[in-house]
């Protein structure tokens, strides 16, 4: 992909809070990072995890707890959430890679359900209510993330927005680096033909596990950021619905494409906020999108576009 595309995207990201509602934009960035992290696993390693909500939601609880109860600064909260997700990813990944294909999906789903039950029952998670009123705090103890700047008539939380944006870019860059490194080449080799990768002498399980941990950690980072943006860690984020949503975002945008998860997250998040008035019909709409996508365009938006332009996007 060429430089101009990147520069245009970064400029768009920098200007976005002045154009669209900043909270919406931050939600979008969180889910886009989540989907990109997920795509590293599904798109580049060929592993379908149905339990990524455990990392996303689990990290948001940890961050919420660190910031709210332990009184840490937000960047340490996010770091804590991310490390937790990496550790959890190591445990879940070690178990799940023992089975292949469809079983892998079922194992991750079941393990994520344990995390869900913990979030529901443990004393420090707030049960059905979740953790509410998580303070955004001062970044490095210096920059107030609650501060708003009035542009025109509306107060914009620019400090928070740019913090989220920078973290998103960092995460996105890490994934991009991972994909375009020798490490990423091995992952693709495993996706295309695992027995051949084994016969070439690669320790396939170790590569899968590393990909899983990176993916889990960055999903966790996305969840941590979301808990600061919405000042809430909720059961929804650890439930299997969220695991399904991130699969949909990736699938809709294009599995194994760089920009696909961004497009997919944009579509799903926009759908959700535009259609919030229809209440629980949204589940049906998401379901229909899934079915249509699987039946008609398995490559996703970006994948199909890439095929038309004969380019890898």
């Amino acid at each position: 992909m060429n430089k101009t595309v990147w520069i245009v995207l970064i400029i768009l990201g920098l200007l976005a809070p002045f154009i669209v509602y900043p909270i919406f934009m931050m939600k979008l960035l969180c889910f886009a990072l989540f989907a990109c992290a997920f795509n590293l696993l599904l798109g580049y390693t060929g592993l379908l995890s149905f339990g990524h909500a455990a990392f996303f939601g689990g990290a948001s609880y940890i961050t919420g707890h660190l910031v709210k109860v332990s009184g840490l600064t937000p960047e340490l909260g996010v770091l804590g959430g991310t490390l937790f997700a990496a550790l959890l990813g190591y445990v879940v990944g070690s178990l799940a890679i023992r089975r292949q294909g469809i079983y892998f999906a079922m194992v991750t789903l079941a393990l994520a359900q344990i995390v869900y039950f913990v979030a529901l029952k443990a004393p420090f998670t707030g049960g059905e209510d979740g953790l509410q009123g998580i303070p955004r705090g001062n970044l490095f103890g210096l920059i107030d993330l609650n501060q708003t700047f009035t542009v025109g008539t509306s107060p914009l939380p620019l400090n928070l927005y740019y913090f989220v944006f920078i973290m998103f870019c960092l995460g996105f860059w890490m994934i991009h680096r991972a994909i375009n490194s020798p490490f990423g080449q091995v992952l693709k080799a495993i996706r295309e033909n695992e027995p051949r990768a084994v016969s070439l002498g690669y320790n396939v399980d170790r590569f899968k596990l590393m990909a899983f941990v990176i993916s889990a950690a960055l999903s966790g980072m996305a969840g941590s950021l979301k808990s600061l943006v919405f000042q809430l860690a909720s059961l929804t984020d650890v439930s299997w619905h969220s695991s399904g949503e991130v699969v949909l975002m990736t699938l809709l945008g294009g599995v194994g494409t760089v920009l696909g998860p961004l497009a997919g997250a944009f579509t799903v998040v926009t759908l959700q906020s535009e259609l919030s008035s229809v209440g629980s019909w949204i589940t049906v709409i998401i379901g229909v999108t899934f079915v249509v996508c699987v039946l008609l365009f398995r490559r996703g938006f970006v994948g199909e576009l890439g095929r038309l332009l004969k380019k890898s996007l």
């Binding site: 589940t283 379901g287 999108t289 899934f290 699987v294």
Partner: protein, 301 residues
């Protein structure tokens, strides 16, 4: 803590009651997986649908067809719900799943996940998430039976018995009859079976229909025990997935036995340490993955 023999046995029996549902559902998943290579994520939703066919047949159907006095009774529901859901399954297979066989098996999982969301979403919109009671339990199944060591509700005993008959009947047909041998051959090598003149696509369609009809049957059986709710399937399917991972989907008997055992273990856990009862099956799955990654009855690949 004093744990009496009675308490343990009653919880284990109640657990066995859950276990037969796990067994029927994982059996259906295994049969479908064997021939279609698809994990049917919609299985839980179709189990829920079966329960709703029974519920609505009893409460709403009469009004709908202009005969307010007509109620679909329990016995009829046991037949009708599997037929209705089986027919829906056949439509799903014909119109959607059959287009995906030539692609990665994961797409089947994703498609059926989408279907599960649709079915569950529709019912969530029209019905109470906390559930409605199914009040058409036949008179004859009311009350309790003395099992010697405890009094056990008659209905649950019936549910256990009839489920076991259905499970072992299915096992018998697949493992011991000519029809079953076609099915097993189709699982091993569909191309070769086609060459012998067996209509494999039809066999696949009917297998999917039968698998989901089993789920609906379990749904009707469960209706008088639990309240009928739109989320009953979602809660069930994840546990059943864990059951399937533990047992391995390679063996019909394996999935039946695993389902029964895990139900009882879950019941036992309720006595020993109740908070763990909702996660114990997942924890057993973890142990099985560590010790015998292919599953208790699975074949090492």
């Amino acid at each position: 803590m004093e744990i009496s023999f009675q308490t343990v046995m009653s919880q284990v029996m109640l657990g066995l009651n859950n276990g037969v549902f796990y067994a029927i559902l994982s059996l259906g998943l295994a049969v479908i997986f064997g021939l279609l290579n698809i994990v049917n994520f919609a299985h839980g939703a179709l189990y829920m649908l079966g329960a709703y066919v029974a519920l609505l047949g009893y409460t709403k159907l009469g009004v709908l067809i202009g005969m307010p006095d007509f109620h679909l009774n329990y016995w009829a529901a046991l037949i009708v719900a599997p037929l209705v859901v089986g027919a829906i399954g056949i439509v799903i297979e014909k119109t959607m799943l059959s287009r995906l066989y030539k692609f990665d098996h994961l797409y089947g999982l994703l498609l059926t996940f989408g279907l599960a969301l649709i079915i569950q979403g529709v019912f969530t919109n029209y019905f109470n998430v906390s559930g409605d009671p199914y009040e058409a339990k036949p008179e004859i199944l009311n009350g309790a039976v003395n099992l010697g060591f405890m009094m056990f509700p008659k209905y649950r005993l019936w549910a256990i018995a009839v489920s076991l008959v259905v499970c072992f009947g299915t096992w018998f047909v697949i493992e011991r009859t000519k029809l079953g041998s076609y099915l097993r051959a189709g699982t091993e090598n569909p191309e070769l079976v086609k060459a012998f003149g067996v209509n494999v696509p039809l066999m696949i369609t009917l297998t999917y229909g039968y698998g989901v009809a089993l789920a609906a049957f379990a749904g009707v059986l469960a209706a008088p025990i639990y309240s009928v709710s739109p989320v009953m399937g979602a809660e069930m399917i994840i546990v059943v997935f864990a059951v399937v991972v533990i047992g391995g989907m390679g063996s019909i008997m394996g999935s039946i036995v695993t389902g029964l055992l895990l139900g009882m273990v879950e019941g036992f856990t309720k006595v020993v340490y109740a908070p763990a009862s909702s996660t114990v099956i997942f924890l057993i799955m973890v142990i099985v993955l560590l010790v015998k990654p292919a599953g208790l009855f699975g074949r090492e690949s």
